[in-house]
């Protein structure tokens, strides 16, 4: 247990150090919130309509950017070899790495998501659901993205490969979460979409580590 705690602390510190943390999250959203009006036009109604969805897409992209090197660095510097020589199962190690990645990047992004949505003109009453969806969705992005990062280990241009593997797996949470937000915005029942998002996240957290560990073992051998 103390090994898992030490690993979580180290991984979180490393992820925080290489572009995690609240300031980077806010800066990222500020950039998206600036780009979006330039791209789709600055009419308030149009922006308000796309605001919750834009926050979602930004979250997915940010997850993708930070996941790129999740296993690659440890693979290259030998950490992955040493981590396998411990009594901690590789599945747990992979789960801890994803969790740390989420703590350092996904969670700050989720907490900053309503700021971006409101800045773009979304209704403030959506804020609660925006945070809840971003917290759950970010967790799913981390664990599903970890599979792609582990599968592309050792490949040249691994980052691009990760994106191609991972983006299809990001589709369900975006549909469920985006659907829940759109429903709440137009006064329709939103709980079904939110529950499906929760189910997808639970499945990602439970099954992702098995796939990641298998992919890591394959890359090491």
């Amino acid at each position: 247990m103390s090994r898992v705690r030490a690993l979580l602390a180290r991984e979180t510190a490393l992820a925080w150090g290489k572009g995690g943390g609240p300031l980077v999250a806010v800066g990222f959203y500020a950039g998206v919130a600036t780009l979006l009006p330039l791209a789709v036009g600055s009419e308030p109604e149009r922006l308000a309509a796309v605001a919750p969805g834009a926050a979602w897409v930004a979250l997915a992209l940010a997850a993708l950017l930070s996941l790129d090197r999740l296993f690659e660095r440890d693979f290259e510097d030998g950490s992955l070899d040493l981590l396998t020589l411990s009594p901690v199962p590789l599945e747990i190690i992979c789960a801890v790495k994803c969790l740390a990645q989420w703590l350092a990047t996904g969670l700050p992004l989720a907490l900053a998501a309503p700021v971006a949505a409101i800045a773009l003109g979304a209704s403030p009453q959506l804020s609660g659901l925006v945070i809840a969806c971003a917290v759950l969705g970010g967790l799913a992005f981390s664990f599903m993205g970890g599979i792609g990062a582990a599968l592309s280990l050792g490949a040249r241009r691994g980052g691009l490969l990760t994106a191609v593997i991972v983006l299809p797996m990001f589709v369900p949470p975006v549909i469920f979460g985006g659907g829940a937000l759109a429903s709440l915005d137009s006064g329709l029942p939103w709980k079904a979409g939110f529950a499906l998002l929760g189910a997808y996240t639970a499945a990602a957290v439970a099954l992702g580590p098995l796939a990641m560990a298998a992919a890591c073992r394959n890359a090491l051998s």
Partner: protein, 199 residues
């Protein structure tokens, strides 16, 4: 913890090319073996196979009745890939890896003192020279005692003085019943049986 390492008619291949076959090797407590062979002969691969990272084509690697998963907790693997993160301090990295390998208490400081690393502990790993970095990786072996040391070119970045001092450390490890399997190009600074890999 591991009574012996016994390798029976082992064959390994990497990338579709067979490195060696019918390798037989036996290592008992208190014994050191220097693996030699040309570049690409499979010395590193053999060490990784013993650590369970590569599956052999044929043959067995046995640890005197101990299950491989359990035996893995009784070995240190030290290669040119040392798992040290350049953005973290030497102290953080040493205590993390010591803890992860099952060492506890003030073992990291004691090991660091033994390897003259105390003044360097608060530096980031990126500030260390290649030799200092290798000493930091070696400190892990002392801080978390495990009987089997699998060393891949352990001496290469060390200067003459440190080669001698590390030879003494290895001698103490053997005297306490440890086992050492080292892939080397230069002779080890202690009495070791030499096994040539390939051809």
């Amino acid at each position: 913890m591991i009574p012996e390492v016994s390798i029976q008619s082992l064959a390994l291949s990497r990338g579709g090319r067979q490195l060696f076959s019918r390798l037989i090797l036996r290592l008992s407590p208190g014994e050191a073996v220097a693996l030699t062979g040309r570049n690409g002969a499979g010395k590193t691969s053999l060490l990784r196979a013993i650590a369970g990272l590569i599956a052999p084509d044929e043959g067995q690697i046995a640890f005197g009745g101990v299950e491989p998963a359990e035996a893995r907790e009784a070995m240190h693997l030290l290669g040119h890939l040392d798992g040290l993160k350049s953005s973290r301090t030497a102290r953080d990295e040493l205590s993390f890896w010591t803890g992860f390998a099952g060492g506890a208490g003030d073992a990291p400081e004691v090991a660091a003192a033994r390897l003259d690393l105390l003044p360097l502990l608060d530096l980031e790993v990126r500030r260390l020279s290649a030799g200092q970095r290798r000493r930091l990786a070696l400190a892990r072996l002392l801080a978390a005692p495990r009987p089997l040391w699998l060393l891949d070119e352990p001496l290469s970045p060390l200067d003459a003085e440190w080669r001698g001092r590390f030879g003494k450390i290895m001698g103490e490890h053997l005297a306490s019943g440890g086992m050492i399997l080292a892939a080397v190009h230069d002779p080890l600074p202690l009495n070791a049986r030499t096994v040539e890999i390939g051809r």
